[in-house]
Structure formats: C-alpha cells, structure tokens
Amino acid sequence: MLKRVHYSPSLLPYLLVAPQVAITLVFFIWPASQALYQSFLIEDAFGLSTEFVWFENFIALFKDPIYVETFWRTAYFSLAVAGLSMGLALVLAAFADRVVRGATFYRTLLIWPYAIAPVLAGALWVFMFNPTLGIVAYALDALGIEWNHKLNGSQAMLLVIMAAAWKQVAYNFLFFLAAMQSIPKSVIEAAAIDGAGPVKRFWTIIFPLITPTTFFLLVVNMVYAFFDTFGIIHAVTQGGPANATTILVYKVYNDGFVGLDLGSSAAQSVILMAIVIALTVVQFRFIEKRVEY
C-alpha cells in the first residue's frame, strides 16, 4: 500500500501566489475584460449616454475601408520591420561570430540600441531625417533625393520602419549570435574541409541549424512591430501624413483618446488581443516541433 503524504491545509501557499494573482487581475484581466465589455458599447464623446450594441462596433470596423487598409498597412509594416531587423541582425551576428579579437567590445556596442526607449529612438531618427534640419535629409538632398516624410507618405513609412527595425536589431543580434555560437565549431570546420566557402557554409549549415531561433525571433518581432512601435510612430509621424503610418495599435490610440470613439477603440484592441494570442499559439506549436539538434 502506498502511503499518501498529507499536507495539512495551510493559508501560506495562497498567500505566496496572491501578489502574482493580484497583479495579473489588476493589470491584465480587469483591463482586458473592460476592453471586451467596452467593445460592445457605443458611448457619446462626453460619456453622458451609453448603449449596448453587441457586435455593431466590430461590424462597423470591417465595413470601414480605412480600417481594412490599416490592417494591410500593419501587416506590411510588421513584415518589413521583422525582415529588416532580422536580416541586419543576421548579417551582424554572422560577422561577429567570426571575430576573434575585440569580440566583447563589438558585441557591447551592438547591444546598446536595445537599451534606448522607443520614444527616444524615434526622436533620434526624427532629428536625423528632419526635412529642414536633419543631417541625413541634407545628405540625401546632395544626392538629388528630396526627403520630406512630413508630406511624403511612403518616405514616412520608410522612416518608421527603419527606426523600429534599428531598435530591434540588438535584440535579434543577441539571439542569433547565441544560436550560432552553440553550433559545434567542428561542424563548421568539417564543412570547410568538405569544400564549402564561408557563404556556402552559412546557407547550408549555419542557417538551417539556427532555424528554431529564426522562427522564435520572427514571432517576437511581429509582436514587437504590432505593439511596441507605438512610441516610435508617435514621436516620428503621429501616424501621418494622411494616415500613411497609422498602424492598428496607433489607430486604437487615435480613435480612442483623440477621436473619443471608445467603443470602436475597444473593439480594435480586442482584435489586436486576438492577433497576439494567435501569434503566441503559433509560436509555441511550431517551436516545439522544429528544434533541430
């Protein structure tokens, strides 16, 4: 007979998890449920009258061509940010992996951008590209390119993509470098003896072996581009010109806090929430499957 160990019921475990539960409740569950509830309401701008309308906010959103357009813009923006920052980070990591001398110094420098707040990062890029004052705008002018992201929508988009990607490069770089350094050196040497040059080695050995990391970063970067780029966009373009850089999360803010259409704003944030949950599920499902070692 197995003896079952009995613990006398005690309050202690509950007390120990209580802070975590309280934080989750107050800062996540409560606002999320509020948003969900709010998304079923239509409220006037002064908060004097409220009407429960079921899914009317959602229906209105998907009928609104501006919202649908924002959806596609966000997809484009996220893919561009993820692609650009991961691509750059991959190249930097591939070179850092080969550096022997001064590797720590090089790595430290590359990690700095990650420590900069999004708004500051945005401010930096605004200064550099300011159409009248910016040094890059000045240089581009010398090359015959007229830079004015305050009037030109695609230039504005390009600018926020660059700023957002730049900030994420450091993070991606760290993960890529760690992944590359976990590949046994002798595998790379074996490939060198087998006749593969550095580029060939990269694409046939290193890149396939870091696939799990790449996939993980892709999801993280998409989520980053979806949500954490608000500060950069707010600092650089405020979503303009003419909504050219308004992505979903910026529209949530703009419709809710500027336009005071709280119902629609809440509905949009619920949609965003669904997207991030979907992304997370995808990440966990695939990452467990695709580990190669």
Binding site: P184, A190, I193, D194
Partner: protein
C-alpha cells in the same frame, strides 16, 4: 597518391610557442600515429596539416605541393573529428554527399560513391536517418564514410575513438586499420592512447611539449626508446626507472649498492627496465621487496621497492605466483634489454 612532408613546423599563439620545429616524412599510403600526452601539441599539428590552424613557420607538403597557404578545401584531405562533426540537419546520405555536391560531381557519381562507402562501412540501412538517430559507433562510421567518399590524398583522424566505450573502441580500431590498408590512403591519426598508437600505426611520432621525441615503428619505440619520455610512454605497465652511476670496470652501481655490467661511460645515468624484461633469479643483483601483487592470470605483476631504498618498481612474472608481502626477490636483466639514458638530458646513451 601522395606523401606528406612536414618541414620544421612551428606554431605560436602570441608569444607562446606550442610547436618547436616538427619535421617528418610520411610515405605514400603510410599510417602514421601522432601520440603524446594532452597539451603536447598533437591536435594543433593535425589542424595545421588540415589547414584549420595557420602555420607560423615551416612547410607542409602534400604530394609535392606546398599547401601552407591553401584553404582546407584545396588541400585534398579529409578529416574525422573527435565528436564526429556530422551535420545534424542532414540525413546520413546527405552528410556523405555534401562535399561531393559542393565539388560539383555528377549526381550518378555521387550516388555511386556514397553507396559504395556505405557498403564498405555497413551503414547502408541507415542512409536515410538523421545523425541523432544513430548510436556512437554508427555516427563514427558515418564520419568515416564522409571522409572516404571524397577519395582524398590524405586522411586525418583527430582522436576519433575517444568518445566510444572500451569494447567498441577496440573493434573500431581494427576496422580503421583494415580500411586504411584496403584503401591505401596516407593517414595521420592523433591519439593520446599508447595502445591505440601501437596497434594502428606503421610508424609513431611521439610528441612531448611541442617537440618530436621519436619518430619510428612501434617496435623501434619499444626496443630502442630515444628518451626517458618515450620509454615511459610506450609499454604497459610502464618502464621502471632507476638512477645509477657508471663506475670502474664498466659497471653500473644502483642506489642499493648492487652492480650491473654494461656501463657505457662514467657518471650518473638513468636506467630503464621494462617489467616484462626482469627475470626472476635468486642470485640476481636487482633485489625487490614485494609490497603488492596483481594477478592477471597469464602473468603476475609484482609491485615493490628496490631493497634498501624507496624506489618503486614493478616486475612482470609469467604465470601465477603467490609471494608473501615483505619477501625480497632477486631479478636479472639482459644487458641488451637494459636501457641507459643520460641522467641530465634524458636522451638514450
């Protein structure tokens, strides 16, 4: 077909020199084992031949071609690594075909070579598996298969058996030897295991602290070790070393006061006696006070000290013996089996 010539190879990392002028000619089809304790520079030497480490000075020639400045890929070598270094994301077949594909061989030729190597190594049924689905011994075969299919001028082995268990190691050792004889490819094999070295090599290069102590056949090393280091490294149980002094009448005087004939000069020397060369003789001058016996069945190892001193000695007696602890046994040694080394330099006299 290629001979491999090493000429005065030096290797320094910054100001520390790890190889101090290694030379040696390795004939076409020869199997040479580089052996030495860890940190002696043997792996570095192999990696210099492979082109994975730069050459500080000196020359490596493969088939008459100086390869110092060639990339590993251009040297026409294949290497088997200690941890196998298989590509984990490729199947066994892809692992073996990788180098051939890069060299742009026609598909049919790749297919033929891979199948042929797989047949030789008996890994045909694993061709579509990933390395992680194989056991250590199977991975080892795949690593060798990857080397064979390339049909290189030189095979390099970097301690390929050290990750295997003892039994498998003995088996793979034999297979490597047979394979090398069959293919007749010049091979350089690095190991720290002297038994592996003795059984595998046509010739052995004994390295110690970046110097070549001796380069010769296993029997030469056993019968005429060039230095105290080689003498102590080759043979199991290890050789006994005793300080002695050459005195008048061509005699050698041991610390115990006993004398042996055959001195090659006056002054202090180090004597080397292999345990298996000590012959029990009640009148023998080498008198050992027995402390421990090791019964191996076919022979008995007698551990003890030289009488009147604290010098540890081992003698190997054929057959089974029962000797009480503390008893003093006398031993003889034939003068042609008595090794004499310079007490200061450790070189053979």
């Amino acid at each position: 077909m290629a001979e491999l010539i090493l000429k005065d190879l030096h290797k320094s990392y910054g100001s520390t020199e790890v190889l101090h002028g290694v030379s040696g000619d390795i004939a076409d089809g020869e199997f040479v084992v580089i052996v030495g304790p860890s940190g002696c520079g043997k792996s570095t030497l192999l990696r210099m031949i492979a082109g994975l480490e730069g050459i500080t000075s000196g020359e490596v020639r493969i088939g008459g071609r100086v390869v110092n400045d060639l990339e590993p890929a251009e040297r026409d070598i294949a290497m088997v690594f200690q941890n196998y270094a298989l590509y984990p994301h490729m199947s066994v077949r892809q692992n073996m075909a990788y180098g051939l594909k890069i060299r742009g061989l026609p598909k049919a030729e790749i297919e033929r070579r891979v199948n042929e190597a797989a047949d030789i190594l008996e890994i045909r049924q694993y061709l579509d598996r990933k390395p992680r689905q194989l056991s250590g011994g199977q991975r080892q075969r795949v690593a060798m298969g990857r080397a064979i299919v390339r049909e290189p001028e030189v095979f390099l082995f970097d301690e390929p058996l050290s990750n295997l268990d003892a039994k498998l190691r003995v088996q793979m050792r034999l297979e490597i030897r047979k394979l090398q004889e069959r293919l007749g490819v010049t091979s350089v094999y690095v190991t720290h295991d002297q038994v592996e070295a003795m059984t595998l090599g046509d010739r052995l290069m004994v390295l110690n602290a970046g110097h070549v102590e001796q380069f010769g056949t296993p029997l030469e090393l056993y019968e005429r070790p060039a230095s105290v280091f080689v003498a102590g490294f080759i043979g199991s149980p290890a050789m006994n070393f005793l300080p002695a002094e050459g005195i008048e009448g061509g005699l050698l005087r041991l610390e115990s006061g006993a004398t042996l004939p055959g001195a090659r000069g006056a002054g202090p020397v180090t004597l080397g006696m292999r345990p298996e060369h000590l012959i029990a003789d009640s009148e023998g001058p080498i008198r050992i006070r027995v402390s421990v016996l090791e019964q191996l069945g076919s022979n008995t190892l007698v551990h003890g000290t030289l009488e009147g001193t604290e010098r540890e000695m081992v003698a190997s007696l054929p057959g089974i013996h029962q000797i009480p602890e503390g008893e003093v046994l006398g031993f003889l040694i034939r003068s042609d089996e008595l090794h004499q080394f310079d007490a200061a330099t450790g070189k053979r006299l």
